[in-house]
């Protein structure tokens, strides 16, 4: 089959690789009909995620059709149309049973690497480094899905892929980001990053009762999308100081909750941005925590930071004194897809949510290298790419 393989920083290639096979009883093989490039794939593309190896098939946001099931999978049959969450959960451990699927104890066969770095083992994620399981990813014609009996959601045949695909990752990530804010009536929620996850975080924040939602980015097309579809107020941080603007827009208090939908490649401005870029290039710092710093200072006293953008290693120069003295609450983590997918699907079926607006590019799988390039460089107003195998 054809698959998108990582071959080094800023080098992905579409290669011929063997087809996946059933390896365990609870596996299924899915023929992929749509597979997205996630903003977090850009961290891999840029070479920022440790333990990604040359030749790894990447990608984790996908849907398709069941073509084969293992003997332990009784709830799926050949031909079922399914969406699969990006995090892999066994469904049996203490964490999965507590609906914290991305903290699964049992899906990561390379847990020892993560245990050494992080002290514990979290769930595997398709195509997202050997530390996080080393599973072959989804930017391919076929994929092996472990624990398929608990890890997929069946979807009806009559809606287009673009309506359904993003319950795999981007929508539950944004939704969980808003849920972690514990939004109260009258709250203002600020969202850093107006890519797909940021858009869904803003929409979810309004659904959960936010009074005002503010989107922060530097690309006009993303800010436009936030205004048009998420009904957010917006700040272009290249035109104004985001912290000062947030103060002015919140009566001098600061937002009640701040959502990070950017992660480890945040673009700082001025001296601070130069400091992080330099340290990251010299491998003295793995992550650029510009958004975290800004949120810690901007958030109101006693407010909440909800961190959904991906971090993979170490950050420094965090204004922890601000966080401590202001009594901030930090909530974060990979999203628990299996917890949210069924209710999100229902919202789409009920016509309460049409996520297809985020798609700016549909391209054949063969054009993955071009797609990564325009997405990384934000060329051609690229916000979300869907690849068609």
């Amino acid at each position: 089959m054809k698959a998108v393989c990582w071959n080094g920083a800023n080098d992905v290639r579409v290669q011929s690789v063997p087809d996946p096979t059933i390896l365990n009883p609870r596996d299924a093989i899915i023929k992929i009909t749509s597979t997205a490039i996630c903003g977090s794939d850009l961290h891999i593309y840029g070479g920022y995620i440790p333990t990604v190896q040359q030749g790894d098939i990447i990608g984790h946001e996908f849907m398709g059709e069941v073509v084969e099931v293992g003997k332990g999978v009784n709830n799926l049959k050949i031909g079922d149309r399914v969406v699969v969450p990006s995090t892999i959960g066994c469904g049996n451990c203490h964490y999965c049973q507590g609906d914290m699927w991305s903290l699964c104890d049992n899906s990561n066969p390379n847990g020892w690497i993560e245990e050494k770095l992080f002290g514990n083992i979290t769930s595997a994620i398709y195509g997202y480094s050997h530390m996080l399981g080393g599973y072959a990813g989804a930017q391919a014609e076929y994929i092996r899905v472990p624990f398929a009996d608990v890890g997929v959601v069946k979807v009806p045949p009559d809606l287009p892929d673009e309506m359904l695909l993003f319950i795999s990752d981007a929508i539950p990530t944004g939704y969980m980001g808003a849920e972690l804010c514990d939004i109260q009536p009258g709250d203002t929620v600020a969202v850093w990053g107006c890519g797909a996850v940021g858009q869904f975080a803003m929409i979810s924040a309004y659904m959960m009762g936010a009074e005002k939602v503010i989107g922060i980015d530097r690309f006009p097309e993303r800010l436009e999308m936030a205004k048009k579809f998420a009904k957010a107020e917006v700040i272009n941080y290249e035109e104004v100081n985001a912290g000062e603007a947030l103060k002015e827009m919140t009566g001098g208090r600061g937002p009640d909750a701040c959502i990070d939908a950017v992660g480890l490649e945040a673009h700082g401005v001025g001296l601070e941005g130069f400091y992080d870029e330099t340290k990251q290039k010299l491998k003295l710092e793995t992550d650029r925590p510009h958004v975290l710093r800004e949120m810690m200072v901007a958030c109101r006293k006693g407010g909440t930071l909800s961190i959904m953008g991906v971090y993979g290693g170490f950050v420094d120069k965090l204004p922890f004194g601000a966080a401590f003295n202001k009594g901030l609450t930090f909530r974060m983590g990979q999203m628990h897809g299996q917890k949210y997918m069924h209710s999100l699907l229902q919202m789409i079926l009920d016509g309460k949510l049409d996520p297809s607006f985020v798609v700016t590019h549909q391209l054949p799988l063969e054009q993955a290298p071009h797609a990564y390039n325009i997405f990384q460089q934000k060329k051609d107003n690229c916000i979300k790419v869907v690849l068609k195998p």
């Binding site: 089959m1 698959a3 393989c5 071959n7 290639r13 290669q15 690789v17 063997p18 087809d19 996946p20 096979t21 390896l23 365990n24 009883p25 609870r26 190896q53 040359q54 030749g55 790894d56 098939i57 332990g72 066994c90 469904g91 049996n92 451990c93 203490h94 049973q97 104890d105 049992n106 899906s107 990561n108 066969p109 847990g111 020892w112 245990e115 083992i121 595997a124 399981g133 080393g134 599973y135 072959a136 391919a140 092996r144 472990p146 624990f147």
Partner: protein
């Protein structure tokens, strides 16, 4: 513990207070190996099992052994690892107690054959496609709680170990603690045994316990072996 030299079947009566100390160490919440720094696991387990007879596997040292010890390949391998499993102690004990199940999740074991309720024969994978073998006897067996075992005379590698099942707090399942001790023999086997668990025995045993957990909780062991990649 005190040991008489040479005589393999010498009677050894540890003091009652020592036995009590071991009992609380092996049954308690602290790190077992911290408390066992000086003594041998075999001695402690044997005394706890009520046996006065302590087989002194490695007390008579040859010149070669002393030399090997000096360069560090004759050090005992001692490992302690604990994992919490979301299953009852009964279920976990039952699976473990059939030692023939152990190679399904312990990669360092090739096979275990149970001869009778006390004795079993173990074959472990060693480097360069070789194996090491031994007979082991169960020393103590407390249903749903504790199993200890030790190799008998004539083993390629003197070893002993125990597994303990303790209810975890709240609804967290069962804490499973494994402590193993391997005493490398003299001669050519010493280096082989030193590499039985690769460079990092702690990590290997940790991986094996994690596979036990996967098997018991998820019914299968997560793997990516055999999946496609773009590496030629």
């Amino acid at each position: 513990m005190a040991s008489t030299s040479g005589d393999k079947s010498s009677t050894n009566q540890p003091e009652a207070s020592e036995v009590e100390r071991w009992a609380s160490l092996i049954g308690g919440g602290a790190m077992v190996l911290m408390g066992l720094r000086q003594g041998s696991l075999r001695g402690a387990l044997t005394a706890l099992a009520g046996g006065g007879l302590v087989y002194q596997g490695a007390t008579k040292q040859s010149t070669i052994q002393k030399a090997q010890e000096a360069i560090g390949i004759n050090q005992p391998i001692k490992v302690e690892k604990t994992v919490t499993i979301n299953k009852s102690a009964e279920e976990l004990y039952r699976f473990w107690h059939d030692f023939e199940n152990l190679p399904t999740f312990m990669k360092h074991l090739k096979s275990v054959k149970v001869h009778n309720e006390k004795r079993s024969h173990w074959i472990a994978n060693a480097p360069l496609d070789t194996t090491v073998e031994w007979d082991a006897d169960i020393l103590e067996d407390r249903e749903n709680e504790f199993i200890s075992w030790a190799s008998v005379e004539g083993a390629d590698v003197d070893n002993s170990g125990f597994v303990r099942f303790t209810k975890a707090p709240g609804d967290r399942g069962t804490e499973v603690k494994v402590v193993l001790e391997y005493n490398p023999p003299g001669g050519a086997l010493a280096a082989t045994v030193a590499k039985l668990f690769g460079e990092e025995p702690e990590q290997q045993i940790g991986d094996e316990l994690r596979r036990f957990k996967m098997l018991m909780e998820a019914g299968e062991i997560a793997t990516t072996e055999g999946q496609p990649s773009g590496r030629s």
